[in-house]
Symmetry: C2
Subunit: 201 residues, 2 copies
């Protein structure tokens, strides 16, 4: 069904344009008009896919989440169920991932006062926490974890990732790629390794 | 000098009004006009303190940071140089702290595409990391840390706090106050306790 493919392709292309605009100019920059201008299409061609600025933001966020999902999946194909690879796939080490974090932080800025966006954000976080928990469950170093320990470890591992990225994004000078990777590995060694020591006792 | 006091008092009052508006409606809601209306003053009375929306956001962020500073200082007077008390003072356990986190996340949303805001954010993070490092230096359980270990532990402790808050703010149902406190204590036990084990070897 070529028409459907076309629809998806066009929507994805517009979400890409919107992500670029948000990363460069913040959420306010991603107006329907600006997306149309940057994509070289009419405003009507944009509103066909996104009715307004809010819908544009929501879809751009979802597309960034889909790209992130693709990145974490790719990391698990190279090294099956490895939590370090999973987290490192989401570090802003290259411009594409960095751009998506800019989209996410912009989205958070709106989500603090928007219940639909809040729900979207918490659903993404819950899904990613489960992905981390699956990695931990498959990790021989976490064999001593019961379900509760696994779930709380997954939340802390996610917390470490979010907090490292939040620092790195706003202070790239202090957080070159190697420091980000080192911090993730150190966090994992301490957050997960620690419990292993307990588990082995 | 009553005139100066008056100036500071009025500016603080306007920053409070702006923080309320941002927490409720996001950064876009805090226009000069809206702040004037909510404060019951003229637009001119607001532009006397904040020339535009951007200045309003910056000052509101700084005021939120000052309130946070006051909270962490108070926590250290009750329990001298205690890192758990320091972090818990910044958990969104009551509406006042929660409101300030909404202001911060709104600010981050703008800072992703604004170099002056980015600099402001990284300066605040650096100062707070130093505050955590001072706590760790004074903590007998961190006696085995050298300066490098202390500084990287401080960054990871801050990462954990930021990541726990980022999860809690967007999923309050899953993160009641007791879980937030538990997560902070667990993170500290693992991030700092772990290194102590190494230090004692």
């Amino acid at each position: 069904v070529p028409a459907v493919v076309d629809h998806e392709t066009r929507r994805t292309a517009l979400a890409e344009v919107a992500a670029d605009l948000i990363a460069k100019g913040g959420a306010e920059a991603a107006t329907v008009r600006a997306v149309a201008a940057a994509a070289g299409v009419s405003t009507k061609a944009v509103t066909h896919y996104f009715s307004d600025k809010r819908a544009l933001m929501l879809l751009t966020y979802r597309h960034a989440a889909m790209r992130s999902q693709a990145r974490t999946e790719a990391s698990q194909q190279m090294s099956r169920r490895d939590v370090a690879a999973l987290l490192c796939a989401l570090l802003p080490l290259d411009p594409a991932v960095e751009r998506d974090w800019r989209v996410w932080f912009s989205f958070w800025g709106i989500a603090v006062a928007d219940s639909e966006f809040t729900t979207e954000q918490s659903a993404q976080v819950r899904a990613f926490t489960e992905q981390i928990a699956l990695c931990l469950a498959a990790d021989p170093s976490c064999a001593g974890f019961d379900e509760g320990a696994q779930s709380s470890a997954a939340s802390l591992v996610l917390a470490a990732l979010l907090g490292i990225v939040a620092q790195a994004m706003f202070d790239p000078q202090e957080w070159p790629p190697e420091r980000q990777i080192e911090a993730v590995n150190e966090a994992l060694a301490r957050l997960v390794g620690r419990a292993v020591v307990n588990g082995e006792e």
